[in-house]
C-alpha cells in the first residue's frame, strides 16, 4: 500500500510540471491585463494536436513538433490579445465572454480538423518505462518534467532579471506607476501573452507525449489552471508551482486510492477547501475578494 501511495506521489509530481506551465501562463496574462484567458486550455490543446500531426503524418517524434507548436500557439495568443484590445468597455467581464467564444472556436476547429477521437502517442521511446529506485514512470513524463523545471527557471530568471520581465511585474503590480517609469503597458501585455503561449506550447506537446487528448480537453485544462492559480494566490510563481504539484498529487492519489472517474473531483475538493479556509490562496496577498 505504501508503495502505491509513494508511486502516486511521484506520478503526481511529474504531472504537476505541465500543470504549472499552463497555470503560469494564465497567471501571467491575468497579472498584466487583469484578464483571464478562458481559451488558454485550448492553446495547450492546439499544441498537443500539432504534436499528434507531426507524429502521425510525418512519422517524427512529437518533440520535433515544438517549433511548429510554438509558432502556431504564439500566433493564436497574439490574435486573442488583439481581439481583447478591441473591447471598448467593461473589459473585465467582456473579455471573459470573448475568450470563452475563442475557446469554442478553437475546440470546434480541433473537432473539425482532427475529429473527436481520443489520441495518444505511439512512440515507443516516449512510452518506455524509466525506473528510478522504487519509482516507475514513462520516459516522456520524466523528460517533460525536466523541461518544465528548466522553463520555470528560465521564466523566473526572465521575470527577475530581464528588462521586459521586470516590466511585466511592474505592470502587474501597478499599471500607472509602471507607465510613469516609461514602460509601455501594451507592449508588456503582448509580451505576457506570447510568453503564456510559449509555456502552453511546451505543455501541450508534453501532455500529448505522456497522456491522451481529445477536443473537449482544453476546457478541462483551463479549469485546472484556474484551480491552481486559486491555490497559489495571485502573483506568486513559487505558489503556482506548489499549487500545480498539489493538484497533480491530489489527482494521482485519488486515482490510486479511489477511482479514476473521481480524478477531477479531487481538484475541486482542494479548490473548495482553499476557498473556505484561505480565500487568498496559499501564498497570495489580498485582492481577490470583492
Amino acid at each position: 500500500m505504501l508503495d502505491l501511495i509513494l508511486q502516486a506521489l511521484y506520478s503526481g509530481v511529474l504531472q504537476g510540471g505541465s500543470y504549472a506551465l499552463i497555470a503560469l501562463g494564465l497567471a501571467l496574462v491575468f497579472g498584466t491585463m487583469k484578464v483571464i484567458n478562458l481559451a488558454h486550455g485550448e492553446f495547450v490543446l492546439l499544441a498537443a494536436y500539432m504534436a499528434h500531426t507531426v507524429e502521425a503524418k510525418l512519422g517524427l517524434s512529437p518533440v520535433l513538433a515544438i517549433p511548429v507548436a510554438l509558432v502556431l500557439v504564439c500566433l493564436c495568443a497574439v490574435v486573442v490579445y488583439f481581439l481583447i484590445s478591441l473591447i471598448r468597455k467593461d473589459r473585465e467581464l467582456n473579455s471573459l465572454i470573448l475568450t470563452y467564444g475563442v475557446g469554442i472556436i478553437l475546440t470546434n476547429a480541433v473537432l473539425l480538423i482532427w475529429s473527436a477521437d481520443v489520441r495518444s502517442t505511439s512512440s515507443a521511446w516516449m512510452q518506455d518505462a524509466f525506473v528510478v529506485g522504487p519509482f516507475y514512470s514513462m520516459r516522456s513524463e520524466l523528460l517533460f518534467f525536466a523541461v518544465s523545471i528548466v522553463l520555470m527557471g528560465a521564466l523566473w530568471w526572465w521575470l527577475s532579471r530581464s528588462w521586459y520581465g521586470r516590466a511585466v511585474r511592474a505592470v502587474s503590480s501597478n499599471r500607472d506607476a509602471a507607465k510613469l517609469m516609461g514602460i509601455n503597458p501594451r507592449a508588456t501585455e503582448i509580451v505576457s501573452f506570447v510568453v503564456a503561449g510559449i509555456l502552453a506550447a511546451f505543455a501541450g506537446v508534453a501532455i500529448f507525449s505522456y497522456g491522451v487528448i481529445q477536443p473537449a480537453f482544453g476546457h478541462v485544462l483551463t479549469v485546472k489552471a484556474f484551480i491552481i492559480t486559486v491555490l497559489a494566490g495571485i502573483g506568486s510563481i513559487p505558489g503556482v508551482l506548489v499549487g500545480a504539484l498539489l493538484l497533480g498529487v491530489a489527482e494521482a492519489l485519488t486515482v490510486t486510492l479511489a477511482s479514476s472517474a473521481l480524478q477531477e473531483l479531487a481538484g475541486m475538493a482542494l479548490f473548495l477547501m482553499v476557498l473556505f479556509v484561505m480565500p487568498n490562496g496559499l501564498f497570495g496577498a489580498a485582492g481577490r475578494r470583492g
Binding site: F30, K34, V35, I36, L38, L83, L86, I87, R88, K89, D90, E92, L93, N94, L96, I97, L98, Y100, G101, V102, G103, I104, I105, T107, N108, A109, L111, L112, A116, A216, H219, V220, T222, V223, F226, I227, V230, S259, A261, L262, E264, L265, M268, F271, L272, L275, F276, P279, R288, R289, G290
Partner: protein, 317 residues
Amino acid sequence: MKMSRTGLALIAAAYIAVPLLLGSNNYVMSLVVAAMIIGGIALAWALLGNLGGMVSFGHSAFFGVGAYVSALLTMKAGVPVLAAMLLGGAGAVLASLVMLPVLRLKGPYFALAILAYAHIFKIIATEWSSVTGGSAGLASVPRFPELMGFDFSGKIGSYLIILTVLLAFVAAYRAIRASHYGIALRAMHDSEDATRVVGVNSTLLKAVMLFVSAFMTGVVGAFNVHYINFLEPDYAFSGLWVTLPIVAAIFGGYRTIVGPLAGAVTVYLVDQLVFKNLIPSGHQLILGALLVAMIIFSPGGLIPLLRKGFGRKHAAA
C-alpha cells in the same frame, strides 16, 4: 405594472396563433420548443448578468440538477410532474447554496469558480449510480399529464407549458427590476462599494439573484426532462446548456428582457437550420465566432444596435 397592447397581442398570438398555425408540424414545433428552452436559460443567465452583475459559465449545473431532481421525484417518490418541476427549481437553488462562498470572489474568479462547480455536479451524477442511474441514465421519465381533458404530453401541450413558464419568468424579472431591490441592484452595478456604504447588503442581494437565476434554470431543466423523457449525465450537464444561452443572451442583448428570448429563437433556429447543414459536426464554431464578433462590435446586443439604427434614420428624416 403596465402591459402594452402589443405585448398583450403578442402573448395572445403566442398562445393561440402559434399552435393553430404550426401545431400540425411536429418538426417545427419541436424546434420552437427547443428554442424556448434555450430562451428560458438565456433569460435566467441574463438576469444574473444584468441585475447581479455576474457572468456565469456554469448554468448547466442548475439545468442538470433541476432535471435530475424532478425526474427522480416523479419516478421514485411519485410526485406529480408539474409539482416536481417546481421542486426541480428548488433543487437547483439548493445546488446554488454550495456556490455561496464563491459570491465573495470578484468577477473573473466567480465566473471560473462556477464553471468548476458545473463539473462537480456532472461527476456526482455519473458516479452516484444507485440513485441517478449512472452514465446509463434514466429512461422513461414520466411525461406531462392530462389536465382538464387536454393532453399536455404532446408537442402543443409542451409548448403551452414552456410558454407559460417563460411568461412567468418575464413577469418575475420585471417585478424584481421594478422593486426597490432592483434599484439597489442597479446602483450596485455602478459602484458596489458605494452601494455598500449606504447600507445595502450587496452579497445578500447577489445571492438572491443567484437563487432566482438558479431556480429558473432548474425549472427549465425539469421541463426538458419531462419533455424528452430521458436523462443522462453528459446530456443533462452538457456545455451546450451554457454556450447556446450565452450566445443567445449576448446576441439579443442581455440588459433587456426580450433580448435573450428573441436571441434564443433566432440563434437556435439559424444554428439548427443553417449552420448545422453547413458544418454537421463542429457547427458551434460559428456560434463562437458570433460571440466574439458581438462582444467586439456590439456588447449590448442586437436590439440596442437596431434601435440606434432606427434612431439615426428618424434623425435624418
